[in-house]
């Protein structure tokens, strides 16, 4: 069978260096396979016709969470289910919220956080959550390792800064402190389906004043996007429902939705401020909770 030219090579390396050696030496179009929840559809639709698949599911050090004081490193093949089950998501509500609304139980069992970031579909909920957490993406190859802000890693619609011989190893995120609250709010016409609009938010409140605000959105542009308009309208203001409502209106400055399978661009534009406001209200409530 190996002489068959249609036969695809399938590798299951068991360490990060072994994956990277494989990526450096394999000829033809080689694709890294994690949980396969998005890749398998692309394969079936004929959009990905790889000569070789490198299944990274057997690499122990790619999976799991390491927490230090104010940051956490999430392994690329950590599944949504594993991340929700980890104590980290008790401290980062926006990640728990986002992971809980991805697809369904079956998809969350297999789907991985790193897979979502590499797939870079702007409709993937967890990517906006990571953007809101100022995530840094660690990628490596046999030539070495580099760390890139997720904003720079996401270069376009389903396009990333990952080179053919590089592997996404982990994501490093900020862990909110006691004065901060975070949330992810998603609107989708049917539970378990793709977001029409999603909003990941972070608010830090000190003595009633908003001192830090981060807003990132799902499904309203080529990539997950931040909203500097909303963020700047919040920082320095008194934390109140009316402040949040007023600032949320500015989200339309920063989004560029297209008509997609979920809704028209006009509809997304119409509901985006409401989704942002709901998410901010949740973050504000959580910032008030003692943790």
């Amino acid at each position: 069978m190996s002489a068959d030219t249609d036969e695809m090579d399938y590798y299951t390396p068991e360490s990060i260096p072994a994956v990277q050696r494989r990526l450096a030496t394999t000829d033809g179009f080689t694709k890294v396979l994690a949980g396969g929840q998005t890749l398998s559809l692309l394969v079936r639709q004929g959009l990905v016709d790889a000569d070789a698949l490198v299944d990274v599911g057997e690499v122990p050090e790619l999976s799991g969470v390491t927490v230090s004081d104010d940051s956490a490193e999430i392994g690329a093949t950590t599944t949504y289910a594993a991340l929700r089950a980890d104590a980290l998501t008790d401290r980062i509500a926006v990640l728990d919220d986002a992971c809980s609304v991805v697809g369904d139980r079956q998809v969350r069992t297999m789907g991985t956080v790193g897979g979502a970031v590499c797939h870079a579909d702007p409709a993937l909920d967890v990517v906006a959550a990571l953007l809101c957490l100022d995530a840094r993406v660690t990628v490596g190859s046999v030539a070495g390792r580099r760390s890139v802000p997720i904003e720079d890693f996401l270069v376009g619609h389903m396009r990333t800064d990952l080179a053919d011989d590089e592997l996404l190893e982990s994501l490093t995120v900020a862990v909110p402190g006691a004065q901060s609250g975070t949330a992810y709010e998603k609107y989708a016409p049917v539970e378990t389906t793709w977001a029409t609009v999603g909003a990941a938010t972070w608010l830090t409140i000190e003595s009633g004043e908003i001192t830090d605000a981060r807003v990132a959105l799902t499904a309203v542009g080529d990539t997950a996007v931040r909203s500097p308009g909303v963020e700047s309208a919040l920082v320095g203001e008194t934390a109140s429902q009316s402040t949040l409502a007023e600032a949320s209106e500015r989200v339309v400055e920063d989004i560029d939705p297209i008509d997609d399978g979920a809704a028209s661009a006009a509809y997304k534009r119409e509901i985006a401020p409401t989704i942002v406001e709901r998410s901010l209200a949740q973050s504000l409530e959580r910032a008030g909770e003692s943790r």
Partner: protein, 160 residues
């Protein structure tokens, strides 16, 4: 590529391209026709199987992934097992009409109850959201699985 796995307790080896959907391999090479084919896009859940005990959608799992693992379908459910209790409850509650979605629902329920034997109805609704049924309106399915979860709760309470 030669792929070996345990299917419903039997060692199985197939020689298929590794990027074939597991569902196709199960239905064709393995003749496991209780694994249904519905939407072919990861939405409907009728192709759900257990991989190492966890419910997954076999149309979204590339065949290469199951090498060395175990795969369970409803055909492998044994008398006296949790799966059998769930099947009985489906029958008692008339949670089946056309039956096409039932194998997927039963396996999702097995996986859910194995993790949380006393799961409440709200969590159950979320856990089964990946399976679509076009006949029953879901309530009878939730009744059936809740009944099994309730019994687990009662048994637990009885032991206290």
């Amino acid at each position: 590529m030669k792929i070996s796995f345990e299917l419903d307790g039997k060692e199985t080896t197939v020689d298929v391209p590794p990027d074939r959907p597991l569902r196709d391999v199960l239905r064709n090479e393995c003749e496991a026709r209780s694994v249904k084919s519905g939407c072919d896009s990861g939405r409907c859940g009728s192709c759900t199987v257990l991989m190492d005990g966890e419910a997954v959608k076999s149309c979204l799992v590339l065949a290469g992934k199951v090498d060395g693992r175990t795969v369970s379908t409803v055909a492998g459910i044994e008398e006296g097992s949790l799966g059998h209790d769930i099947q009985d409850a489906f029958e008692e509650h008339a949670a089946i009409q056309c039956g096409y979605c039932a194998p997927g629902f039963v396996l999702s329920a097995v996986s859910t109850l194995a993790d949380d034997p006393e799961v409440d109805r709200a969590d159950l609704r979320e856990a089964l959201a990946g399976n679509a049924c076009r006949c029953t309106g879901y309530e009878k399915i939730l009744d059936a699985v809740s009944d099994v979860a309730g019994e687990a709760g009662d048994t637990e309470a009885g032991n206290d």
